[in-house]
Amino acid sequence: MRIAKGIEDYLEAIYLLGLKSSSVRVKDIAQFLKVKPPSVTEALSRLAEEGLVEHTPYGEVQLTVKGKKTGMVTWGKHQLLFEFLRDVLGVSEEVAFKEACLLEHDISDETKGKIKEFLERLKYTLF
């Protein structure tokens, strides 16, 4: 199944927010993604249908194993691209971050692997 763009963004956001505090609420997600709370609620119900998140009775959102996996990997890809854009290409930090957000969803495993290899090679041959 190909997970659509928006879904990955939500999972990534919930994953990151979950690292900072133990409970993630709709409001936090809305703030983080700069969207309106109703859109978050709607997206969450879609995520719940796909078995990616679970609602707790107190209105908190929790990722399932599957959801956390996707969120984590998306964030990983984000960091990889961010580093690549900023450190290798010299893109400014703000632009690099924003565009990593856009690229992270569509990048193939092959390209991802190559960028990773590239960064690793760079890191070992710096000295």
Partner: protein
């Protein structure tokens, strides 16, 4: 072999026929018109290895009926000119519609090769086609191609040539529903009586049921046409639809059934499998349980296998050492040769190798199956508490092998703060050399439970140090790089290669150091310099409750951690450490070895990454810390008796 062959390219419009045509003919083509018709045809000639092949690019059509001029032209060409081979170019991403055409082509009973073209588009949608199954179902060879990228065309062409020379026809017949087949059967009998039609009987029978006017006009016998009319009527009564519609929908349903049975969702199938296993392995409770079980099994396998191997290898070398000892050599030389050189090599092979070989082997298995990434997943939140965040986990895992690449590996992290924390924690992780001490000394002479206890103490220490550093080093922690590779069966070849690469490092780099250090130690012994050196460290010895010489052995650990153990063996001339040290001393020795700054290479790596000052601070801090912790444990144990 100078016969000229004809290949016709057939298929729907926009499936890449012309691209394949151009690739086959090298773009040299003649555009002409079919005699008497307004339909264009492209024709090319290939001459290769004495083979003359005429290639005809038929117009793109969707059926072999009489709806359009193109359809008629194509049908007539195939039926009357009987090309030696028809290459049906299929749009793989639109299999059903293309199969509808292919089914009719098969009914014309000409040799066919199917090019499953635009296969990349299909893959892009996360789908795949089981081409072997498709080939089986249809009785014609099927090849995957991406004409625009020149993929699979060479295979297609060589298969085409093969079939040209053999003249292979489709082997299977695709059957329709019972009502249709019964009537086809009856018509075929009548058609065979008619004889001399350019089309195969089955094709004619089906076309007559479809009420094809051109085919009907070919048939001279009135009886056949009357029968066909009758049978059509029967079909119309059964299905309540025009006979033509019945045949078409039968054909469509066969096409869609075949398409469905050979098309798979590529990613979903694998993802489902991995997802299912992950639900178990990454379960918030069960996952940790499995992790613990796995780590314990790894631990015991290394211990059991290692100690067994260690014994075997030692026994193997005993006769050699005895033989060398009995050689009439001057004492000094004999000492250097036997105890310094040979025993150094034996120590490396018998004490170190038996433990690091299975260690690397198991690590490679965990890595190759994809489980290592799951460990990262499970420990992610724990890592965040340490302030180093998931990304740090990879260098930390690497650290179990060797600290040096781990410290260099911290460069994946953006912030110096994260890199420093991770590096410090990495130096505290028991690397393979330290594991040798834990396994070869503590586990063997005190029992595996104590070895586990050592690990536990060490992990607790790492956790505490992480918490402290996280609190007192300023700055925000940053993210991680991680992948969740799919679970897969470990490939033995890869695992052996990985193990070998890491082991080679040991034999090339560590073994010479071990032998060299052993020689130095032997010289110190022979020149009676151990005494004065150990006297310098007597306060530490007293504090740790270790024999004076054990402290000197710890000094050698600066070169490589295994040396602490090997030096003990060299000095006392035995590997039965239980006879030299008390249980308490063994435990403290193991603990101190585990914590104090790993080795000269690690210090060098720290210096390279963070500068001399920080490297020295970390080194000193860890030495002092190790002595304090070891000393405290000593007094605690003494107090407890």
């Amino acid at each position: 072999m100078n016969k000229a062959f004809t290949i016709a390219l057939a298929g729907n419009a926009n499936v890449g026929k012309s691209v394949i045509f151009n690739q086959l003919t090298g773009g040299k083509q003649i555009i002409g018109n079919w005699p008497g018709k307004t339909v264009e045809k492209a024709e090319g000639l290939i001459e290769q290895e004495g083979l003359k092949i005429r290639v005809i690019d038929l117009p793109g059509i969707y059926s072999l009926s009489t709806y359009s001029e193109e359809e008629i032209v194509s049908r007539e060409f195939i039926a009357r000119e009987r090309p030696d081979l028809v290459i049906d170019v299929i749009d793989a991403s639109n299999l059903e519609r293309n199969l509808f055409f292919l089914l009719q082509l098969i009914e014309l009973e000409v040799p066919i090769v199917v090019a499953l073209n635009q296969y990349d588009v299909l893959e892009g949608r996360g789908l795949e086609i089981d081409s072997a199954k498709l080939s089986n179902l249809l009785g014609v060879p099927v090849l995957k191609t991406v004409a625009t990228k020149n993929k699979g065309l060479r295979e297609l062409f060589s298969l085409a040539k093969e079939i040209l020379l053999q003249g292979k026809k489709p082997t299977g017949i695709v059957r329709y529903g019972k009502e249709v087949e019964e009537r086809v059967e009856r018509l075929i009998q009548e058609i065979q009586r008619e004889g001399d039609l350019p089309y195969p009987p089955r094709f004619v029978a089906l076309k007559l049921l479809e009420n094809d006017p051109l085919i009907a006009s070919e048939c001279k016998s009135g009886a056949l046409l009357t029968l066909a009319k009758e049978l059509r009527k029967e079909l119309e009564e059964i299905h309540g639809e025009q006979a033509e519609t019945v045949i078409i929908s039968e054909r469509y349903s066969v096409a869609s059934r075949i398409a469905e049975s050979v098309t798979r969702k590529k990613e979903t199938l694998q993802a489902d499998f991995t997802d299912k296993i992950d639900n178990l392995f990454l379960h918030p409770v069960g996952g940790y349980f499995i992790l613990l079980l796995l780590l314990l099994s790894v631990f015991f396998i290394i211990f059991k296998f290692g100690s067994f191997l260690s014994d075997e290898i030692s026994t193997l070398f005993n006769p050699l050492i005895q033989y060398l000892e009995n050689l009439p050599l001057p004492g000094f030389l004999s000492g250097l040769l036997v105890h310094g050189l040979v025993e150094g090599i034996v120590a490396g092979l018998a004490i170190v190798l038996p433990y690091i070989a299975p260690f690397y082997f198991l690590l490679a298995i965990l890595e190759d199956t994809g489980y290592l990434a799951r460990i990262a997943f499970l420990t992610d939140s724990l890592m965040h508490k340490l302030g180093v965040h998931g990304k740090a986990f990879i260098p930390l895992i690497e650290s179990f092998g060797c600290n040096v690449p781990a410290i260099l590996g911290t460069r994946v992290m953006e912030r110096k703060r994260d890199r420093l924390i991770t590096s410090v924690l990495a130096t505290l992780i028991p690397c393979s050399a330290r594991s040798v001490i834990v396994f070869g000394l503590v586990a063997v002479f005190l029992g595996p439970i104590y070895a586990l206890l050592l690990y536990l103490i060490d992990f607790l220490l790492i956790f505490l140090v992480g918490l402290l550093l996280n609190r007192y080093l300023k700055g925000l922690p940053s993210g991680l790089i991680m992948e969740m590779p799919r679970f897969r069966k470990p490939v033995l070849k890869i695992i052996f290669r990985q193990t070998w690469i890491r082991l080679k490092d040991f034999t090339n780099f560590a073994l010479p150091i071990i032998v060299g250090a052993n020689l130095v130690m032997e010289i110190l012994i022979l020149t009676n310099s151990i005494e004065p050196i150990s006297r310098i460290f007597s306060p530490i010895s007293w504090f740790l409750g270790l024999p004076a010489f054990a402290t000197v052995a710890l000094l050698f650990g600066f070169l490589r951690k295994e040396l602490t153990l090997i030096m003990l063996a060299t000095f006392y001339g035995t590997t039965n450490f239980g006879a030299i040290l008390t249980g308490k001393q063994i435990f403290i020795f193991g603990l101190v070895t585990m914590i104090y700054i790993p080795c000269i290479a690690t210090i060098a790596a720290l210096k390279r990454e963070f500068g001399t000052v920080k490297a020295l601070l970390v080194t000193l801090g860890e030495i002092v810390g190790a002595i304090i912790i070891g000393g405290l444990l000593n007094f605690l144990l003494r107090a407890c008796g």
